[in-house]
Amino acid sequence: MDKFVTINSKNSKPISPIHLVALIDLALFGLLSIRSGIFESFILLLGVTKAIITYFTFYTLRKFKMGDSYLALIVSMILSMGLAMQLRLSFDVGVKQFIWYLIGMFTFIVTSSIYHSVYKRFKSIWFFYSLMIFLFVLTLLIGTRINGAKNWIILGTVSFQPSEFIKILFVYYMASFVANPESLQIKIADKIIPPKWTLMVSVFTVLGFFVLQREFGTALLIFMVYLSVVYVFENATIFVAVNAILAGVSAFFAIQLMPHLGARMDSWLNPFADIAGKGYQITQSLFAIGSGSFFGTGLGMGYPHFIPNVETDFIFSAISEEMGIFGGIAIIILFVLLVYRGIKICLRLREPFTKALAFGLTTTLGFQTFLIIGGVTRVIPLTGITLPFVSYGGSSLISSFLILGLLQALSGSILREEVFEVEKIDNE
């Protein structure tokens, strides 16, 4: 045993996981390029491009000491599986997703590079709140209803989902509150209302807007983020409990009053009762996961197209069908790693604003992943929400890369803050 360890540590350096990611890229895209029987060099080219971008990002982050170089690597691995699955489902959609990936990487690099020069300018809590409300009103006024939820804004050929960005604004809003709670202190008739009650009212207003747009998934997501931030930074267990109960009661009445929401509950509790109607999506998802078993049918050997919306909400079911639940569990583990790196960053940050920001962004990624995977596997009711970095869609991908870019920048701030602390001590 000891011998083995010494031999191993003396004679061979551990292989960097980055080569593994590149190898998987080449293997997956290589397989896809010969899938139809004819060699399609373009698909392999995409794989090579992705591997090069991965290497480039990894070494650039290292060279310029831009913080945690593993964040982007974990995401790159998630993307390998996601992009391969999209390309397998449909060549056109896959290529579009690849373009969004390129734009996303650009967003990521720009965000993580310029963050430090601009972040101090945007700290006003009311700025974030009014921007959120503005986007809501805009969506309600000129939004388009797709799949039941009125959450799209279409301007000519460009369409985007404001809620994907509202969730980031919301994290900013929460972080501003943590940094400067007095800004929400309001006096009514000489009585000072504690800022967290003002916060509660404002958050429930945001939730109300989401419900109005039938965006239950995002509503649940920001509510979970809100509770986590309040629990961690305000140390207010009773306040959290009051919020949870209040939300539970309003959810109960919402289910009774809104037939759309009631139908979702029915299709969760008993999908087989109305298998041709409400239960169709979720049962097709279960059939897919079941037919994949542990090792999957193999890429291209299953029938993921039987699931409606497979490339967006149900991408996890498609992965589970063709790569098995081991493939699905791999995705889950990668997200656990991502959350772990995020938590690590926020543990080391000291300034309340950056700490809360890193925490909010990390939990957003974690809870969002749980909500959608739990939904398509029928562990929890299905809420239409995307799987970060994997589901098809420009808004979803860009906002996920935005979150990643911010986390990357924040991981760079650790060093800055430490230097700052040292300087402060020196000055004293």
Binding site: V232, I275, G290, I332, V339, K355, T377
Partner: protein, 476 residues
């Protein structure tokens, strides 16, 4: 101080997220191992049909190579064809794009489509050449001649016949009536009538029908009695007996005088066996019944209803009724065939099976089913004694209609009261179980004909006799 508690609360949330993800991992594993079983066969699972595209479903043969199910391809569309129509409806079942799959077509779906490990081997070359893939064939233990004869003998009556080779457990014939034509077009035309008919033509009675066994169950009672040392038990039979205020009488109130167990079995005396409950421990009876597989499940090529006996026989009248095969007791025809084959095979019940072997598209045998012991019913001596009694039943008792010249037959008749007959809406069920040749049994059989005016000895025994003689004579 404050900072460290903030960090510990951050870790709380991290642990929470990890637990949420762990729940997903556990649920996914549970779903694959267990949770999906119930749902994957659902008709809305389009994968079941999608998988079949481009695969020629394997054939089904009887034990002598007679084709019982085939796949016909006309204009590129393949359809299942059953040349003997209704004859195998309750054995093979059907494979329909509308109504799904049943029985062997369902249980052996992956084999017939070549989707399991055996199927992969045969299709390696076809993967390269791009020809349609072929599934594997299955070869049944059923003998087509015997099956056709059994079906002919039962005619328009409702009931079931199960014939087994007692030494191996091979099922030689299995008939359930009423039946139906399983070909797709016929199913389409008759589905509404079939699914609403009060005689349940879609029910495979041999394996799913539960009946009171009537006097055929006295075989099990006798085994319990001999095992308890009641071999020499005798009763003065005056035609009826009162137990706990309830009268148990012989068929036609006949009195037989002094009876030992052999003559009681031969005449099927209800008085003798119900009187025996005074000395026979109910636990011994339950035990003997469970030794034949009652209250137990075993794996079979087809779905099977569990035959059962109540474990609580504390009421004297209920116990007396159970001894006679009435009371809290229900069996499938297959179960009675197994009990009978247990006596024929020196007390050992062999595991019944329908699929003898699996072959590939070139009729090369890929695997054979091995014969296995299923239950030990009783010991050799006891089974010999019961055999003698059953020989007497056919020689001089209620089962004379089953007797053959030159071949010694052992058997037991039964006339079972049922819900319909006790409420005056119909007649009793006629039963016969038996095997032949008694010295070296080659076939064991159970016959039940529902709601007959005549009793088991008159109506079921002659059917069994013809089937047994045909099988034995054809073999020689």
């Amino acid at each position: 101080m404050k900072k460290s508690t903030t960090n510990s609360r951050i870790l709380h949330i991290f642990v929470l997220i990890c637990l949420l993800f762990l729940t997903l991992v556990f649920y996914l594993s549970y779903f694959e191992l267990h949770g999906k079983e119930q749902i994957m066969g659902n008709n809305y699972n389009r994968r079941l049909r999608a998988k079949e595209e481009g695969i020629i479903r394997g054939k089904i043969f009887d034990r002598n190579g007679e084709i019982l199910a085939d796949t016909k391809i006309t204009d590129g569309i393949s359809s299942r064809s059953y040349p003997y129509k209704k004859l195998y409806a309750h054995v093979i079942g059907y494979n329909s794009s509308i109504y799904g799959k049943t029985l062997l077509e369902a249980r052996y779906n992956d084999t017939l489509l070549g989707l399991n490990a055996l199927g992969l081997m045969g299709n390696v070359t076809r993967l390269v050449t791009g020809e349609d893939k072929t599934g594997n064939n299955i070869i049944l233990t059923i003998d087509h001649t015997l099956q056709a004869l059994a079906r002919e003998l039962i005619g328009e009556k409702r009931g079931s016949i199960v014939a087994i080779n007692p030494k191996t457990g091979e099922i030689l014939a299995m008939v359930s009536t009423p039946d139906f034509n399983p070909n797709e077009q016929s199913l389409k035309d008759n589905w509404a009538a079939l699914s609403t008919n009060e005689n349940s033509p879609l029910l495979p009675r041999a394996i799913l029908g539960l009946y009171p066994p009537g006097s055929t169950f006295k075989v099990v009672t006798a085994v319990a009695a001999i095992e308890e040392g009641l071999t020499d038990y005798s009763v003065e039979d005056s035609g009826s007996i009162v137990i706990d205020g309830k009268t148990f009488s012989n068929v036609g109130n006949k009195s037989y005088g002094t009876l030992d167990m052999t003559s009681a079995m031969a005449f099927s005396s209800n008085v003798y066996f119900s009187k025996m409950t005074e000395v026979l421990d109910a636990k011994a009876l339950i035990n003997a019944a469970e030794n034949t597989g009652l209250n137990k499940n075993f794996s079979f090529d087809l779905p099977l209803n569990k035959s059962s006996i109540s474990r609580d026989l504390s009421s004297k009248t209920e116990y007396a009724a159970t001894v006679l095969g009435q009371g809290k007791l229900l069996v499938t025809p297959l179960q009675m065939a197994l009990i009978c084959s247990g006596i024929a095979n020196d007390g050992v019940i062999m595991k019944p099976y329908l699929v003898k072997s699996i072959s590939d598209t070139n009729n090369l045998i890929l695997s054979n089913t091995l014969t296995k012991k299923l239950y030990t019913f009783t010991d050799r001596e006891t089974s010999e004694q019961i055999k003698e009694m059953m020989i007497e039943v056919v020689k001089s008792g209620t089962g004379v209609n089953a007797s053959l010249s030159e071949i010694v037959v052992a058997g037991k008749t039964g006339t079972a009261q049922n819900e319909k007959s006790t409420q005056g809406g119909g007649n009793d069920h006629a039963w016969f179980i038996g095997f032949a040749p008694a010295a070296d049994p080659e076939i064991a059989i159970a016959v039940i004909i529902e709601n007959q005016e005549k009793d088991g000895g008159q109506i079921a025994a002659p059917i069994a006799r013809k089937i047994m003689s045909t099988w034995i004579r054809n073999k020689r």
